[in-house]
């Protein structure tokens, strides 16, 4: 007895992602899905951005990591509610993992939930988590050719943080040309040039994000 099913497996993830989005929206929680290749600077960004953002927002963290709790340990001194999600080698977070993590958070007392995804420029682009904003960290040390190679990730991000810009000259990177290539692929995203290790380069990003989150959660 054959039953026709004809279901797209990825739509399963999208449906759970949409449910997550509804839950976050109902609870007035703004959510960021932070993506990048391994080592591009996601955790460094959080180490240096969150202390500023915490002054005006209640923040929670969902830390995605293949095996370890290393990133969560780096952020532990901030004393923020943190949920560790280990993918056991998996290359991305999926909507179901976030759905489980949501159950462990006190959403009534959170304004901003930051999800650090697993470092990977391919798979996370295909898995909607239910985030409000997809923020990509693009480290220029990986080379200026990456935007067109990892098109889906660049094209699907709402914000692109071009990171490690102080190393541009050492890495033979023309920052202006890199900016233009990112812009060509994604004409509408917000772009910031930062050095995540230097908090003074994060002022514009921090204030834009705090303003954007407050505006959204007040609506």
């Amino acid at each position: 007895m054959e039953i026709k099913v004809l279901k797209n497996v990825m739509q399963k993830n999208s449906a759970i992602g949409n449910d997550n989005r509804d839950v976050f929206h109902q609870k007035g929680v703004y959510t960021i899905n932070l993506t990048s290749s391994p080592g591009a600077g996601k955790t460094t960004l959080l180490e240096n951005s969150l202390p500023e953002l915490m002054k005006s927002l209640n923040i929670a963290i969902i830390e995605g990591d293949p095996y370890t709790t290393r990133d969560a340990e780096r952020l532990a001194h901030l004393n923020l509610p943190t949920i560790q999600v280990n993918t056991e080698g998996g290359c991305h977070l999926d909507a179901q993992m976030i759905s489980q993590a949501i159950g462990e958070l006190d959403l009534d007392n959170i304004d901003l939930c930051v999800i650090e995804n697993v470092g990977n420029l391919v798979c996370p682009a295909a898995f909607d988590l239910g985030e409000t904003l997809r923020v990509m960290v693009y480290s220029i040390t990986e080379g200026a050719d990456k935007p067109k190679k990892y098109y889906n990730m660049f094209q699907g991000s709402h914000v692109i943080l071009i990171n490690k810009v102080e190393l541009a000259e050492l890495c033979n990177i023309d920052l202006e040309a890199t900016y233009q290539e990112v812009r060509e692929i994604n004409p509408t995203c917000k772009i910031f040039q930062i050095s995540a290790t230097r908090p003074e380069t994060l002022i514009e990003w921090n204030s834009w994000l705090a303003h954007t989150v407050k505006k959204a959660i007040c609506q």
């Binding site: 039953i3 099913v5 497996v9 998996g90 991305h92």
Partner: protein, 85 residues
């Protein structure tokens, strides 16, 4: 490695199909047919590794055969499920 998530979602689709049709509920799953487009974004070998692990302790499904057919439609679809008569 995203095949681990895919395997989880496939199992959910199979279980939902079983739950939604009383005729299927006590019947063994003989085969599951997948339709996938080239270039593959899901690798059958890797998918099978995770899926076999997930169904190992589910008697109704653990003996199933997995069949793949090429499709023009972009994506990875559970096309049909064949139950014993």
């Amino acid at each position: 490695m995203h095949e681990a998530s895919i395997a989880k979602y496939v199992l959910e689709i199979v279980q939902e199909t079983i739950d939604s049709d009383p005729c299927c509920q006590n019947k063994l799953v003989k085969s599951i047919t997948f339709a996938l487009s080239r270039p593959y974004t899901v690798y059958p070998d890797s998918f099978e590794f995770y899926f076999t692990e997930l169904i190992r302790d589910i008697p109704q499904i653990c003996g199933t055969q997995l069949i793949y057919i090429d499709s023009d439609q972009r994506g990875f679809f559970v096309s049909s499920i064949d139950f014993e008569d």
